[in-house]
């Protein structure tokens, strides 16, 4: 059963507005009304039960402040919390902050914290933990801290339950920097004054969340149990969660089929297995809950290699590709065709750009216009492609790309690597074309600009501008828009930058990927925010 959750709006941008804890429930009900038939929405959550969740690959650790990979998030988001959660439209909702205000000049963010919150070891949670996390812990450990906090001047705590963030310039993306994987609040009483990576409590995560760490049997499962002192009365509803490590994709699909596990998330299940699982009466497929991640997959192009330095050649490649075919036959309908660099669920998206239809004749024309000539085999150019080694789907995608570029006279050779080899080659610019997919984190300043600005051309570092694309106007627009507090001016700048990028095609955007969350129908309230399965599960309950 494929269910669709319609986009829901819960009000205006957060600036200048206050939200009370009750708003969480309002938000959930509004969403629930669409998610579940009216009758089911009236169901009382049932207490108790054990939830089994697929986990793959095995995370290296569960300390969310030190590691934010997807599998780490799936487990650790039940243990740790942040100040805010976000609904499907990326509007903030209360979490450890019950209420907040943003000053009109966009320079001061004030958060009022929940009271009576304790860490899993019984210590009280206070504003000091928030200040410590923002000023000491994350700047040292979090790979995105330097972009999330780039305008942050200082953080102060007027009292135990109030925190103020002071910025040196308005930075509208900042309100999105408080989701739990970007800003997991770490216990100061455990980490302050220690070597964070070497802390003796690193094998026993302590958070404020609805579930507590119980046991990790390596290679087998992670076991969490309900936190009886959780600050939200009556939650969580389930007694315990087992995260089962199942390394083989076919075995994961079978485990869902035979009801040995209840939930899969992210790319646990290959898209080509989804239609089959969708047919089973005890499973449902939901694609909401990845609005923060908002993964966009593209063909990454090394602009240092001729003739790919010419925008006309990149346009020719784009015209040669049938992206509807890719969506329908490789990703099995799981995704949307992108118009440009910003995912349509990300803030500041605009569709007022040139649209590339599938047009192989136009591709040939463009290459002829460039003065390229066909060789003895009828090829204009030869390029080497590194398929992304993230499962069967990307291999199929690469094969499709080879075929369709081959049809317009671009000869593509595939060269296989494993993920470590891939990361090294791409980071060191030793590739011609490859696939990649990158998360956007809700806002272009957090997850989009990094791919395209000249400043971020850094050899040896992955997820930077590894193509070597450089347009100073693009840099200017991204830089100014990021600190523009006026909504209209900001939107105009982001629109212009999207138009430039779509014309010049630094990369070829193929698909706004939708990850399928596949859930046993007895599990309710599993997807209640843009964090999806990487949320607290405080509201989740199991029906008999």
């Amino acid at each position: 059963m494929m269910k669709s959750v319609g986009a829901q709006s819960h009000g205006n941008p957060a600036s200048g507005r206050s939200w009370w804890a009750g708003a969480t429930c309002a938000g959930l009900l509004a969403v629930g009304g669409v998610l579940v038939p009216a009758l089911a929405a009236a169901d009382e959550p049932r207490q108790g039960g054990t939830l089994n969740v697929i986990l793959d690959p095995e995370p290296p650790m569960l300390i969310l402040g030190l590691n934010q990979q997807s599998p780490t998030q799936v487990v650790a988001t039940k243990i740790y919390e942040s100040l805010l959660r976000y609904d499907f439209d990326l509007e903030p909702m209360p979490s450890l902050a019950r209420e907040w205000e943003i000053s009109d000049d966009g320079l001061t963010y004030t958060f009022h914290l929940q009271e009576g919150v304790t860490w899993h070891d019984g210590e009280p949670f206070t504003s000091h933990d928030v200040v410590f996390t923002a000023t000491e812990f994350l700047p040292e450990t979090h790979p995105r801290a330097s972009s999330n906090f780039r305008q942050l001047e200082d953080v102060t705590a007027p009292d135990d339950h109030t925190v103020e963030f002071h910025l040196d310039e308005a930075y509208p993306a900042f309100i999105l920097a408080f989701e739990v994987a970007s800003f997991p609040i770490m216990p100061a009483h455990i980490y302050e004054g220690t070597d964070y990576n070497d802390n003796e409590m690193n094998d026993h995560p302590i958070g404020t969340g609805p579930f507590k760490y119980e046991r990790w049997s390596r290679g087998d499962y992670v076991h969490l149990v309900a936190n009886e002192d959780y600050w939200q009365e009556g939650k969580p509803h389930v007694d315990e969660i087992y995260f089962r490590l199942i390394p083989d994709a076919a075995s994961r699909a079978l485990a869902l089929e035979t009801e040995q596990v209840d939930i899969s998330s992210y790319n646990n299940i290959e898209p080509f297995d989804v239609p089959r699982l969708e047919q089973l009466p005890h499973l449902e497929v939901v694609t909401e809950g990845y609005e923060i991640a908002a993964p966009l997959t593209w063909i990454e192009i090394n602009h240092r290699v001729e003739p790919m330095d010419d925008p006309r050649f990149r346009q020719a490649m784009m015209y040669a590709l049938d992206r509807e075919f890719i969506r329908d036959n490789i990703f099995m309908g799981l995704g949307r065709i992108p118009t440009g660099p910003i995912n349509s669920v990300t803030i500041e998206y605009s569709d007022d750009v040139h649209i590339y239809e599938h047009d192989p004749d136009r591709a040939v024309e463009l290459m002829e216009e460039m003065g390229l000539e066909r060789d003895g085999n009828g090829n204009f150019a030869q390029i080497e492609m590194l398929p992304l080694p993230y499962g069967e789907t990307f291999i199929r995608l690469s094969e499709y790309i080879r075929e369709s570029l081959g049809q317009v006279g671009i000869d593509v050779r595939l060269r296989s690597t494993d993920s470590a080899g891939w990361a090294q080659r791409v980071a060191d610019w030793e590739y011609e074309i490859t696939n990649n997919f990158v998360y956007q984190y809700g806002h272009p300043a957090l997850g989009v600009s990094r791919t395209y600005i000249c400043d971020n051309i850094r050899q040896g570092v992955l997820f930077t501008n590894t193509m070597g694309y450089c347009n100073e106007r693009v840099d200017e627009l991204f830089a100014e828009a990021a600190v523009e507090n006026d909504e209209e001016r900001r939107a105009a700048m982001y629109e212009e930058v999207q138009q430039i990028l779509v014309d010049e095609l630094p990369v070829l955007w193929l698909l706004e990927m939708e990850f399928p969350t596949i859930v046993n129908t007895r599990v309710r309230n599993h997807t209640t925010s843009a964090g999806g399965v990487a949320d607290t599960f405080a509201d989740l309950w199991i029906d008999e």
Binding site: D203, R218, S251, D418, S419, A420, G421, Q424, V461
Partner: protein, 325 residues
């Protein structure tokens, strides 16, 4: 007895030298692969900044020159220290010791199953050579021999877990069921059936064919005829005269394959989500967790070397004419 002592001493010294080269070669091989753990972790985080990657490399000790890293590693291995996995934040020896029992349980059971069934079926086939039982056993052996492990595993899961619902399809035990004592043993055993079959059937086929042909060869020898002429019953001829002589090639092969079992277990552990050392090694390879991967190599090399010594000793037990040198 002194002879055996001398033999053991000599073999152990040789084993240590071999081990030294195994460590050296593996170290070089692993480092020849592109990519390092810092790059992998940055890749998995979905974001990275240069200081962050530099910091990771420093913590992992990757900023030292390669020969220094190699010297540090080799010398600490021979002091019994397998190092520390920075990726997992734990000592390699702990990681391996935690996972080794599951692998040993799986591989030893599969090994015994394969050997016992193989010798039994091979003997039966040889006794009924040319009859329908022989044909049936030889066909079974051929099919088991020719079927790829992973396919067999998936088909067994399909049949026994999905369609019949008799056996669990993955894992070591029913987590959270709280079984203790005999109930737990039964639970683990149920989880073991499919992986043991998957891992064992191939080797069973090998031993069946080997036993059958070896028996047929020995069967026609003069001493067997003598035994029959003396009036020994056919069963006793088979047990005490034929099989004892025919089993030597099987033992040779078994000793040789004990090492392969651990390699085969990587695949089986992955398909059945069995929390063993094979998967630990495979993940370590993908993540370029050098210390863990090398540690697994060292431990499995030691096991293989030990198996070989045991095999050589077994020869003298089964056939006293063979002496240790």
């Amino acid at each position: 007895m002194a002879k055996i002592g001398l033999f053991l001493a000599r073999r152990l010294v040789k084993a240590a030298i071999i081990l030294f080269f195994i460590v050296l070669i593996n170290f070089a091989l692993i480092r020849a692969a592109p990519g390092d753990p810092a790059a992998v972790m940055a890749g998995e985080a979905g974001a990275s900044d240069p200081q962050y990657v530099e910091l990771l490399r420093q913590r992992f000790g990757l900023d030292e020159p390669l020969h220094t890293q190699m010297w540090i590693y080799v010398s600490s291995v021979f002091q019994g220290d397998l190092g520390f996995s920075y990726r997992q934040g734990r000592f390699v020896s702990d990681l391996i010791l935690e996972r080794l029992p599951a692998t040993l349980l799986l591989t030893v059971t599969a090994f015994i199953f394969a050997l016992a069934m193989g010798v039994l079926l091979g003997t039966l086939a040889a006794m009924k050579v040319g009859r329908w039982a022989d044909t049936a056993i030889t066909t079974l052996a051929l099919v088991s021999y020719a079927t790829p492990l992973f396919w067999l595993g998936l088909m067994l899961i399909l049949l026994f877990s999905v369609h019949l619902g008799w056996l669990p399809s993955f894992g070591f035990e029913s987590v959270g069921a709280g079984h203790t004592g005999l109930a737990r043993v039964a639970d683990v055993a149920a989880h073991m059936v499919l992986p043991v079959l998957t891992l064992g059937l191939f080797y069973m086929a090998v031993y069946t064919r080997l036993t059958r042909s070896s028996i047929l060869e020995v069967h026609e020898m003069d001493f067997v005829k003598t035994a029959r002429a003396k009036g020994v019953t056919e069963g006793n001829v088979m047990m005490f005269h034929v099989l004892r002589n025919a089993i030597l090639p099987v033992i040779t092969f078994a000793g040789f394959q004990a090492g392969h079992l651990i390699g085969g277990s990587i695949l089986v552990e992955t398909v059945f989500a069995w929390p063993g050392i094979g998967r630990l090694a495979f993940n370590a390879l993908l993540q370029r967790d050098y210390q863990v991967l090398l540690g697994v190599f060292v431990v499995t090399s030691i096991l293989v070397l030990l198996f070989n010594i045991i095999t050589d000793l077994l020869y003298t037990v089964i056939d006293p004419r063979i002496e240790v040198e």
